[in-house]
């Protein structure tokens, strides 16, 4: 029971990170593809305004996932972080570059400086979700055995399935970002940006859908057990729910119901993670390590869960307040996008 609860806590953190942190990386993707300095300026200004007050809090979810994992499933954590040292280290470097460039580009004085920092921010916003996604894909593909760097340092995360998950992570983040930014633009009363992000949301949503369908083919050939899990029982229910929420997002975007689309887009992504968890059950690191085998003793799990419950009671209201202030544009001093 306690191991399942701890795993659920980790998945809650992971979902929050993929949705909230993922959208911040996705915003970086749209920053990267916004075009020249002149033409892309309004899009970039909107991205900056939306991200600046929240990206640090969103990023903490990643730390949360790491901490819950090493406390509740220390063996899995040690095995994973040693075998997947390369993609995880590259992700960590990207996190430094992304956050550092984003925080400092506000002080850039010349166009050249702003360009260099902006490009660093945008490029690393693509590499981080890719490498984190590939690491998750390596676990799903059963490439991470128990042991100190016991798996293949390169081969474990460069198979078809890990690379696919890496790309999927980038696309899902971009889709979430476009949906969120569309709603933000509407609130800010910027119809031309609403149109721009709506088009991006629809386009990235279609790409994500196509990728997901193609991905099932990769899963069926690369990880048959995972495929069985995704096509039966709770795993299947999640896949169906994800698809339905994804279609609903596209319809809502089409009909310009941007606020509601935020939630359906988040559900679509959350259901992908939940589906993965159910499909992989009872394994933490398939095919060798189950959740129960990986779990810490009950005393450690209980302490963590009690602390997390108390922590959530503080965290959730604080987060709600932050998002309310941010979404209503009240945390936007001197960050107004130029008309």
């Amino acid at each position: 029971m306690l191991p399942e609860l701890a795993a659920a806590l980790m998945l809650v953190g992971l979902t929050a990170y993929v949705v909230l942190g993922g959208a911040d990386f996705g915003a970086g993707f749209w920053d990267l593809t916004a075009g020249g300095a002149e033409r892309g300026a309004p899009v970039r200004a909107m991205i900056k305004r939306a991200m600046a007050p929240v990206w640090e809090a969103n990023h903490v979810w990643l730390i949360f996932v790491l901490v819950v994992m090493w406390t509740a499933f220390p063996k899995a954590f040690g095995s994973l972080s040693s075998t997947l040292a390369i993609p995880l280290f590259l992700a960590a470097l990207g996190i430094v570059l992304r956050g550092g460039a984003f925080a400092l580009k506000g002080e850039a004085a010349t166009i050249a400086e702003a360009r260099a920092l902006g490009a660093t921010f945008a490029l690393s916003s693509v590499t981080v979700p890719f490498f984190l996604g590939a690491s998750a894909g390596a676990v799903a593909a059963g490439e991470v055995p128990v042991g100190n760097a016991a798996g293949d340092e390169w081969g474990s995360w460069t198979g078809a399935l890990p690379l696919f998950v890496g790309v999927l992570a980038v696309v899902l983040g971009a889709h979430l970002a476009a949906v969120f930014l569309g709603a933000d633009s509407q609130r800010a009363g910027r119809p031309e940006l609403v149109r721009a992000f709506r088009a991006r949301a629809l386009g990235s949503g279609l790409v994500a859908g196509a990728l997901a369908i193609g991905g099932l083919a990769i899963v069926s050939s690369e990880a048959p057990r995972l495929y069985d899990g995704l096509t039966s029982g709770a795993g299947l229910a999640c896949v169906v729910a994800s698809a339905a929420a994804g279609v609903a997002t596209l319809l809502l975007e089409w009909r310009a119901r941007f606020e509601l689309a935020r939630y359906t887009a988040a559900v679509a992504v959350a259901m992908v993670i939940a589906g993965w968890a159910f499909a992989q059950e009872p394994y933490m690191l398939p095919p060798g390590l189950t959740l129960d085998e990986a779990a810490a003793p009950d005393s450690a799990l209980a302490a963590l869960l009690i602390a997390a419950t108390a922590g959530m009671a503080l965290l959730v209201p604080a987060l709600v307040w932050l998002f309310r202030l941010a979404v209503s544009g009240r945390l936007a001093y001197e960050e107004e996008p130029r008309p």
């Binding site: 730390i63 128990v146 760097a149 810490a296 963590l304 602390a307 001093y333």
Partner: protein, 437 residues
């Protein structure tokens, strides 16, 4: 005493680059820890400045608080990402340590995670909310930032205290058993380490800020804005720097009591000595002073490095030099703080001597040196153990290859980050200063 234990994932990794792994960890830490100081202390300094505004209505205080808060946000953001590197390195460099003991000390990191959340949330509301929240709400938002800075350092220091004084588990048949997370969290080393680091946060942040304003003073910028900035920073410095000397004494005596081999390394004491002398500089000794300092008894016996086999001894030279550097600088900072406090108390003004300001300019960077030297003392002094007298660092290290490549890449990224952050902060300091009436 507990038996020594190896990793749980497999045989020891036989890592060729253990030393580089340790250096990479040390570098990551040395980059992050100054930012932690600003996380601990800067919010209190900014909120204090804002409080001066609320009390007096003088817009200069608000303008200064606002400007400081911008720097605070930049430093926090850089701290967020460098702290993330440390979290990753726990697993990337020391997977056996995490796999073996992650559950024992993890609770503290779990609570630290929530502290980090609160800090990130409220610092954003604080810094972006200057013009949109009511003054009363705004200053209240600073409170959770200050509190989270404390709980965060409490929890991280708890883990470091635990590594030096492991508690909350036993070893049965080569396995970790009887895990008690609360006993691990409230280990005996927590309190003095926490007090020492929390004060260090204020010492470093206050002296670095003072150092910036003292530099401006020497350059002839002696208007009221610079005076206020300097006096507020110095007030914090004068409060904490002398207190830090007392806490340092407490910490040193605790080390003497619980980690005698570390103390021997700090003093370069090869042989166990009764009434041991304290070596001030190479060759100059004060008789019996070490016994007196470490045990408050001039005739006390101090254990030497020779009480443990050679493979259990920490590298003495670097620990000894670091310890002396920290003590010397810390004493100097305390004297500087006291100088300011005395003149301010008697005359209600700053010391006029240019040497006071020159010393302050040096004090900022020197406080950083003392901070790092202190951590080198305690962490290199902990070697060869990752968990003191329980698990060796060499048993904790990763079996993955590529440590030199990773070390190089991270060094380059950090050098670039430091250079850019420096340029941006300097630009912020020189940007137009607006006082809104």
């Amino acid at each position: 005493m507990r038996p020594v234990i190896d990793g749980v994932l497999g045989d020891p990794a036989n890592q060729d680059y253990l030393l580089q792994a340790r250096q990479m960890q040390a570098m990551s830490f040395a980059v992050h820890i100054p930012l932690v100081c600003f996380g601990i202390a800067f919010p209190a300094m900014v909120v204090f400045m804002e409080g001066l505004w609320l009390r007096t209505g003088d817009p200069l205080y608000r303008a200064l608080a606002k400007r400081w808060s911008k720097a605070m946000l930049i430093l926090f953001a850089v701290g967020v990402v460098t702290g993330t590197i440390l979290s990753f390195e726990m697993g990337l460099l020391w997977p056996e340590f995490m796999a073996r003991f992650g559950d024992v000390f993890g609770l503290a990191f779990g609570i630290e995670g929530f502290s980090f959340f609160m800090e990130a949330i409220f610092i954003a509301i604080y810094v972006y909310g200057w013009d949109r929240l009511s003054p009363r709400t705004h200053i209240m938002v600073g409170a959770p930032v200050i509190a989270a800075g404390f709980t965060g350092s409490f929890m991280v220091i708890s883990v470091n205290g635990w590594m030096n004084q492991p508690a909350g588990f036993s070893i049965v048949d080569g396995k970790v058993a009887d895990v008690e997370p609360l006993a691990a969290l409230f280990n005996k080393n927590l309190w003095h380490e926490l007090a020492h680091m929390y004060l260090a946060g204020f010492v470093v942040a206050a002296f670095l800020v003072a150092s910036v304003y003292a530099f401006a003073w020497l350059r002839g910028r002696r208007d009221r804005r610079h005076l206020v900035g300097l006096v507020v920073a110095l007030s914090f410095a004068a409060l904490v720097a002398p207190a830090q000397v007392l806490v340092g004494d407490w910490a040193a005596r605790t080390v003497a009591d619980r980690q005698p081999v570390k103390l021997a390394a700090m003093e370069g004491l090869e042989k166990t000595t009764r009434g041991a002398p304290f070596e001030l500089f190479a060759g100059i000794e004060v008789p019996r002073a070490l016994s007196l300092l470490a045990f408050h008894d001039p005739n006390a016996t101090v254990r030497g490095l020779d009480t443990v086999p050679e493979r259990d001894r920490p590298p003495s030279t670097i620990v000894k030099i670091s310890f002396r550097a920290m003590v010397a600088i810390g004493t100097g900072l305390a004297a500087l703080g006291a100088w300011f406090a005395w003149v301010w108390w008697r005359r209600r003004r700053l010391p006029r001597s240019a040497w006071f300001h020159r010393a302050l300019v040096a004090a900022g960077p020197l406080s950083l040196v003392a901070l790092i030297a202190g951590w080198v003392t305690t962490e290199v002094g902990r070697q060869p153990w990752v968990v003191y007298e329980v698990m060796r660092t060499e048993a904790a290290v990763t079996g993955a290859s590529g440590i030199p490549a990773g070390f190089t890449a991270l060094s380059l990224v950090y050098a670039a980050l430091a250079a850019i952050a420096y340029v941006m902060l300097r630009r912020l300091a020189r940007s137009e200063f607006e006082v809104e009436a």
